[in-house]
């Protein structure tokens, strides 16, 4: 096999992986702060993809530009979900929270099914089939834009958590909830904002990934599992870890598709997951609990 093919495939896996990473960042932020595993992750992502699709069909808005409205809508959804429902369930057993979010997921998938039906739909852009030469590499233009957008949004998020007041307050909640309460932070409000920001990442990732894949209601389960794998590999709650995990899984999927059968690509991801769980359970960039 020519070396360029291998290199191209790696690059394209890396770019897709950045989008996966942005999506997983959403899961990681929510888990890191609210301590809830969002079992409706993939379902929310599919909803975001459908919203981006509608914006494209109705207003001609490209997915790359739809990122802003879709992320805003998902922020409101996440904020509402936490403020309206999950904040009441903070002290119930984990299994009940799991069940609640799984049920939210069931409702979302079924809702998409009723509204859009089971067929796969996609967005065709003028540059959908263009490629760009970068040095020796030949990369699809949509994929390059998608990866770049995901990277920029993730960078903005890092800046938000590092430098803004709310960002610091959220990190305080994640670090030490009792301490955050003692210094007078409104924890429930910060939880809602965090769930909103996590959902915002999902929204942005959903809108971006619509450039690369066709959307149908049953993508949801696959995206939930993918985000779980990435976040555990990278380290639950670690923002950089989510991106690193995303890239790692993106590249491994791309190479598995090249070297073995594409249908075996997820086995690769799970193999990485199992190895990480065994030898570095806190994740590559995670801190020991």
């Amino acid at each position: 096999m020519p070396f360029e093919v291998f290199l191209n495939q790696t690059a394209s896996g890396l770019l897709t992986g950045l989008v996966y990473g942005l999506s997983a960042l959403g899961l990681s932020v929510i888990f890191g702060v609210v301590r809830i595993v969002n079992f409706a992750h993939g379902e929310m992502m599919v909803v975001a993809m459908y919203i981006a699709l509608l914006l494209f069909q109705w207003l001609g808005l490209e997915p790359l530009l739809a990122v802003v409205p879709v992320a805003a809508i998902l922020f409101l959804v996440g904020y509402g979900l936490q403020a309206g429902i999950i904040n009441r369930l903070i002290d119930v057993p984990d299994t009940m929270q799991f069940l609640l979010l799984a049920a939210v997921g069931i409702v979302l998938t079924a809702g998409c099914m009723v509204i859009f039906g089971p067929d796969a739909r996609n967005v065709t852009l003028p540059y959908s089939y263009d490629s760009v030469e970068v040095g020796a590499l030949l990369i699809d233009k949509p994929r390059l834009l998608a990866g770049a957008a995901a990277l920029i949004i993730s960078a903005l998020l890092f800046l938000f958590f590092r430098f803004t007041r709310t960002g610091k307050q959220i990190r305080a909640c994640a670090d030490n909830i009792a301490g955050a309460r003692v210094v007078g932070l409104n924890v429930k409000r910060l939880y809602a904002i965090s769930f909103g920001i996590g959902s915002m990442c999902i929204g942005a990732a959903g809108s971006i990934i619509l450039m690369l894949v066709d959307v149908h209601p049953y993508l949801a389960g696959q995206y939930t599992l993918l985000a779980f794998v990435i976040v555990i590999v990278g380290g639950m709650g670690s923002h950089a870890g989510a991106l690193l995990g995303g890239v790692l899984i993106g590249v491994s999927e791309a190479l598995a598709g090249l070297l073995l059968q594409p249908s075996l690509k997820t086995v690769f991801s799970y193999a990485i997951l199992i190895l990480v769980l065994l030898f570095r359970p806190q994740g590559l960039l995670g801190r020991r609990a």
Binding site: V37, I85, R88, L89, V92, P93, D94, T95, M96, F98, L99, L100, A102, A103, V104, G105, I106, V107, T109, A110, G111, M113, V114, G117, P118, G221, L225, F228, V229, I232, Q261, S263, L264, T266, V267, Y270, A271, L273, I274, L277, L278, P281
Partner: protein, 333 residues
Amino acid sequence: MNRLLATASPRALAALAGLFVVLLVAPAFLSGYLIAVMIVILSLAYVGQAWNIMLGFAGQLSIGHALYFGLGAYIAAAGYVKFGLSPWIGLIGGVVAAAIAGAFIGALGFRFRIGGVYFALLTIAFAECTRILFDHIAWLGGSAGLFLPVASRDTNDLWTLRGAPVMFYYVWLVLTAGLFVLCRALLASRLGFYWLAIREDEEAARAVGIDSFRYKMFAVMLSAALTSVAGVIHAFYFNNLFPETTFSVGRSIELLLGPIIGGVGTLFGPILGAFVLTSLSESMTVLAEHIQLGSKAVDGIKQVFYGLIVILIVLFQRRGLWPWLSRLLGFGR
């Protein structure tokens, strides 16, 4: 036996005996449709009970029970289709395979101190890997599925599990009742107390000398083995197996919804949960057909309501339905 009965209120025992008698004679009065529904309820009650041993008793969350279910189903079906073996012989193979798989996952998880959510995701990972693996085993039909020859449903042959739905109804009834009694006995035993101690506070349990690794392993292996039995009966009732459905995360979630809704750790929770969820789902179907929507929309709308009702139950009955119902009926705890 005395210890088994001692802690139950007479009222609860009478109700339980009454329920069993009703279930025993029920097929004589039920239509074919209702027998099919009852089979779903009993089978979900059985797997829910088996799953509950892990989370409800020993405190370990598994979202990968489809793995054990699928192993039982595939091994027994393959034994019958390829070698003409009775499902009861295949069942032994399935039980052993599932127990080994459970032991493997448990040993990895517990040895490396992977707990809670992480352990749950480990179970999903293994179930998903197995699903993809079976998709690629051509000998067992791969993703195109494995089919059992459909025999006439006029005669009931228990040895080869070929027969009418009523036969399966009684097989499930015996299994569900048997597992109920077994779980009751386990909870009253030394092992049961060890499990509860581990569930409530593992560090404390270890401090008083309970070998938590060993007893958690018992729980996983027992739960896996019991779940694989359900897979066998399922395979011979439906006569077809696809990796996509048999090993899916959806199945894992389906089988744990009941016990969580009913009440984790309670003996009657899985049975109540299976009953509530199945009747809910069936009545939604009937209702949706009644208002005559398109067939695609029916399924979607049914799922939406189903999900909404589960959300309501979580919001208003956080410990599940059984603790509440039990108090209402005056059964005590």
